[in-house]
Amino acid sequence: MKAKAIIPVLLMMLFCTGCWSSREINTLAITICLGIDKTDEGYLITKQVLNPTALAMQKGSDEDPVVLFVQKGENLFSALRKIATESSRKMYNSHVRVVVLGENLAREGIKDILDFFMREHEFRTDFYYVIAKGTTANEVLGILTPLESVPGVKLYLSLENSERYWGITSAINSIFLVQSILADGINPVLPGIEIISKAGYSEMENSNDAKRLQYTGMGVFQEDKLIGWLSEDEAKGYHYIIGDVGNYVEQVYYNGKDQIVCEVRDSQSKMIASCKDDKPSVCVKIKTSLNIAAVEGVLDITKQENRKILKELLEKRIKLLCEKVQKKAQQELHSDIFGFGEAIHRREPKLWKKLKDSWDTEYVKLPVHYDITVEIKQAGQISKPMFLKEGED
């Protein structure tokens, strides 16, 4: 009897939930990449949508793997919805991998669009933001990429790769971006992407394909507005300071001619804020371990004294990178991208209360010290340079 009473209750429960509309995959237009530009009337949306027909063919097809939808609107939502007027399929946004922001938009501020991405349920929060450096998002999305047939996936993967192996970009998702805009004492950075055309490529492909996308440096924000760019070296320095370093390549010159190339294995940093007479200062402790990747020249790295020299050279090199970016951020851009303010907040909460309101001016004259230790771990598979004769030095 009891069981019979439970059955209708269970059945009723089945229909009491939300969000269970079914959609077949082949009725969806899967958006991989979204570009947003600022226009006079509002926003210009560029949507890169998968073209499954082209992807389904085993061999090459003449159709492009992605289709672009471009629409204007006064706000993001209406612009996105308006695409329905030209698409046969329902726009599906959960698989957006990368959002490309036009430089114009970034300079005017990105707060308003972030609100939309955080609020709308269909967007996940694990996609990355990228700024189209010196161009519009629309142009960036119009370029087809080699190896990956879907450009959006290429943007996503090469962003992760260039963060890990070259160190000039950071992959930043919605949550991280919003956090660093909201937090006091830290300002966000976003990677920049450029359209390049190199002479070497056009030999093998037609001229249209000679355009490639490449990540270059990072955009520095003051609150939510783009204010300037870091060059490659500066971006590297930035990563050393915040301690988020992948397998970078680092090279130093010995005696001005022997080039020694190293691969960074691991690098950690600690920001230690201190306070003397109400004057804050920050000491950045960086601990890096490297492997030697190549020795171009005759420096015998098996010798202890040579290693010591090499160590000092590397320490100097890293310090130089750090100081360069620190100076640029302080004096030129006036933006605390490293989170020095946060470090002071954590260490000296009382001092921070006083500094908080005037941080923008205090930051510019904040003294920063470096304490860099480099450890050379392995010399690779061979020890001495192969062409070093015995007795020579």
Binding site: T17, W20, S22, E24, I25, N26, L55
Partner: protein, 524 residues
Amino acid sequence: MGILRRVFRRKNKKQIPRTDGFLYRDLLKNITNIKADFEQNDDLIVNSFKWSDNQDTICASLYIKTLVNTETINSLSEEISILKMKENKSRQALPLDVLRAHFSGVRTLKEGDRYIDLYADLLSGNTVFLLHGSSQYLSIPTESTEGRSVEEPSSQTVIRGPKEGFTENINQNIMLVRKRIKSNALSLESLSLGNLTRTDVGLMYIKNIAKDSMVREIQGRIKRIETDSILEGAYIEEWIKDDRYSIFPTFLSSEKPDSVAAALLEGKVAIFTDGTPYVLTAPALMVEFFHSSEDYYHHYIIATMMRILRFFAFFLTLLIPSFYIAIATFHQEILPTPLLISIAAQREGVPFPTFLEALIMENTFEILREAGIRMPRAIGPAISIVGALVLGQAAVDAGIISNVIVIIVSITAISSFAIPNYEMSNAVRTTRFAFMVLAGVTGLYGVFIGIIILTLHLCKLKSIGVPYLTPIAPWIKDGNVDTFFRFPFWAMKNRPFGLHGDDKRRIGGEYPVRKNKKGNQEFR
């Protein structure tokens, strides 16, 4: 159900023999009665003969031609003629006594005075002797034992371990188990079930190892069965199941004497049915349907791995199609992007909704499987070619079915065969369709509702009063040495599952390899 039972009972009454009483002293009257009862049976042979040349004592021997072994009959008639010759000289004793004295020494002899018993004996292949002037009969077993010889089981093949399988002969089956457990504690109770079929049923258990109350319960249930026919163990199973509506098997059927012997040693009761090579063991637990006798013949680590693999296959075959339907139609966002891209590329141009597509393909597979079983052996390969090439490859090439669904169906199919027990595999395969419908209607939400309902159902199920999920739920402390893991024999101290009677311990001593000071003994 009540109506059904009533119908059966009424039918049974009609079939009961006319002469339900005792034998008469008059031989002729008896024979006429018997002949009348066996009116349309041309294979009933009645031979009457004079016991001795001088006396008027008439005897009759009756048997059913098709049931008896001709050689036994021949030797019996020889023996009787010798006896008769002796009798001609002495002329003292009554012929029935002479027969009794002679045969009780060498043969199983039965006596009786009722028609109904006489018919039962006659129909099980005995030769019945009747004597004028006596209301007793004597019966001597002469039944033909012809049938299949012991062969390798067809449904439970193993790589390592005994390859004997049960046959259709109950005595031979009992012999095969007795051969493995040479103990006087092994008990056998014989019953005969079915008002018409009079099927021999044997109830086997080991005293003290099997719980007494459990044996009584099974016995009681079997005795209460009132039906006209028992042709296979499944009849008994269906009659005495705890939850008669459940799709899950609660009796383990086995074709292998070694598995039955192992079950008996765990404290189970085996039900032998004449005429089938499958022996039921009860109570059966859910986990046991994923065990194979081979688990105990291989290294315990390998056996454990195989078991875990089988449980994994169980979940695959149950849930893979429904998960695919749910994810592909409701929850595309939980797929990794590259996977979504390839699924989207494959589904492009497929005219059916995913649910329908899955249903079509799963049904196609079920049809193929069913056809493959019933097909004559020679046509079997043709079916698989048609199935694999025409339905699989061609349907995909034509763009009617996506590649993914073919992969899903194949995984499901292969996994369903990894479940060692055929009945369990059937139950899971059927349940799968319910899950697919739930997934098609409400997505993963429905699938999980289904999983909850299934779990509740399995928790509720009982096999002869023992919860189906024992020893996991209820948790039995020492019972889990032989469920998902197969512990080594020296670690299985007690009988598993906690179903045993008084005799709890399985092993007595220590690990027999003794270590000296230096470690293990070395010989070189």
